[in-house]
Symmetry: C2
Subunit: 301 residues, 2 copies
DNA sequence: CACACTTACGATATTCGTAAGGATT
DNA sequence: AATCCTTACGAATATCGTAAGTGTG
């Protein structure tokens, strides 16, 4: 008794008949032969245990119970259709939400153009971006607050599914009048002698750099958070710095020079990281795939 | 595309799987074999065009789209079940409403006991009673404000379906000390000489009486609306009166006498009248049938 | 290898459309 | 006679359960 099966077709048939008051016309609207339609209405009446229409050969009218059913049925069908339409919108990416957690270096340079392209293609999909360091990016994904992350660490764990997005070479940035700006063969150990403007200790750039320079140490004069701050400091000659290729857009000014390192250790890998136990939402997968398609290219010069 | 068919079984399967996170257990809950259940879930995913569960051999989890569907689906199924349950209540007469339009003479004497019996059997069904004269009874039914009427006229029209409920003989009512109280053969024309307390001109009693007496006229001293008033007047000796047998309960007191007329013309017929173009609601039919079963019996003495 | 979901497949039920039936105007 | 709903019935479709397949711990 409790396991009643009702279909939207039955309710739609009911509503069509209630409106048109004719089996023949209602059957047409439902794209059914008239006898099949008749059977469908009968099946609904039997399922509910109540006659819903008074019909003879000339007239079709709702019974008292039918009239009672009309409004709830209409609402129910509308809800159903709304639900299906909503899902259809998501599948068609006319609707949805993607939340990405990404390193600030990507967030500032590469992501804006990519987000813009995504928005042009999928104007109905909301985008959210958390620009924070790798570990916090992963925390956000783990907590379900971000769909996936762009991070500099590719955690090897059954918890995660990772994919390499690109590799990003480190570049020296200094004033045009700095000795290193013109030095023939640029090597890591050359950095040791000059005042250096660092990113925070947690940043991937700094960790790679210290590892490559070990056991030498750099002459750190400043430790800042923001890319723009670094740029200002270097431009004023406070020190030199090293940044990933993907952030070079910030340093394209006449007074500054940037030069790549060729050492393999001075390369970071950017990973796309997502939870292994969850698939991406349709919208998220769409953005994810666009990222792979539009991989950032680390500058060679 | 717009003609999507979804069934409650699909939604129930979805909800069971979302809750139990196991095809096997959810299939059990739905009383299906596990492969049949699997196919049911797949059919829903195909209908919506979106994968709703991430499943491998070990784990079953909702996808982002599945999580979005969960709450609306739960609500929708609950609404469905509410609707079916409500209809079931009406079919079982645990719920509903009947509105009857009846002549005051029936409303006061016969209906109370009948309504009481109906309420005992169907405590959930609301009852409404309009006690008014025949023509207004029919108006109420025509307007849909009453399900059927108990009237003294059986209109012959395709608009109405009528059924005889009972016949009701008229009785003379007078004081025990009145000459007519003991007169051997009681005839209609005997009424002409005595002061008479009448019902309103629209009442069925009066119409029958005047027709039977024609061309003689009665010595009307008063014209009142309510049965109780008539009783008081007659008891005080203001006049005599004639009432239908079904109202005699009001005149059962030591000081009064009532005597039936044997003339066929001094009989009224009580009809059950309902709209021909509408069936009765389940609750209304139930009361209607109870009325036929418990037909009032017009007193013979 | 045990467990859990999927695929394969034959049997059963349901649903369909065409055609005939019945009632009403 | 025309119209409209119902019934009848064979055909197409869907759904079921059993059994075999597949992947994972």
């Amino acid at each position: 008794m409790g396991q009643m099966n009702l279909s939207t077709r039955q309710l739609r048939a009911f509503l069509a008949l209630a409106e048109l008051r004719s089996f023949t016309r209602a059957a047409n609207r439902c794209h059914l032969s008239q006898p099949a339609f008749s059977a469908l209405v009968r099946s609904l009446e039997e399922a509910l245990g109540a006659r819903l229409f008074d019909r003879d050969t000339r007239n079709v009218e709702l019974t008292a119970e039918g009239r009672l059913l009309e409004e709830p049925a209409r609402r129910l069908v509308a809800d159903f259709e709304g639900l299906v339409a909503d899902m259809g919108d998501r599948v068609a990416r006319r609707k949805g939400r993607v939340s990405v957690a990404a390193l600030p270096s990507l967030a500032a340079g590469w992501l804006p153009g990519l987000f813009a392209e995504f928005r042009r293609t999928n104007p109905g999909v909301d985008l959210a971006l958390h620009d924070t360091l790798s570990d916090q990016c992963l925390d956000l994904v783990r907590a379900g607050r971000a769909d996936f992350a762009l991070a500099a660490t590719g955690p090897e764990s059954p918890e995660w599914t990772t994919e390499v997005l690109c590799r990003d070479r480190f570049h020296l940035v200094c004033r045009r009048d700095h000795p290193l700006a013109t030095k023939a063969a640029l090597r890591v150990k050359d950095l040791a002698g000059y005042p250096f403007v660092h990113f925070s200790r947690a940043s991937s750039v700094r960790q790679h750099l210290e590892a490559a320079l070990h056991p030498q140490q750099m002459a750190t004069v400043l430790e800042v958070e923001h890319l723009t701050t670094v740029m200002g400091m270097v431009e004023e000659g406070v020190g030199i710095t090293v940044v990933p290729g993907l952030t070079l857009f910030e340093f394209e000014r006449g007074s500054l020079v940037h030069r790549p390192f060729n050492l393999a250790g001075l390369t970071r890998t950017i990973y796309l990281v997502r939870r292994a136990d969850r698939s991406l939402s349709i919208a998220a997968r769409s953005l994810y795939e666009l990222m792979i398609e539009r991989k950032p290219v680390s500058r060679r010069n």
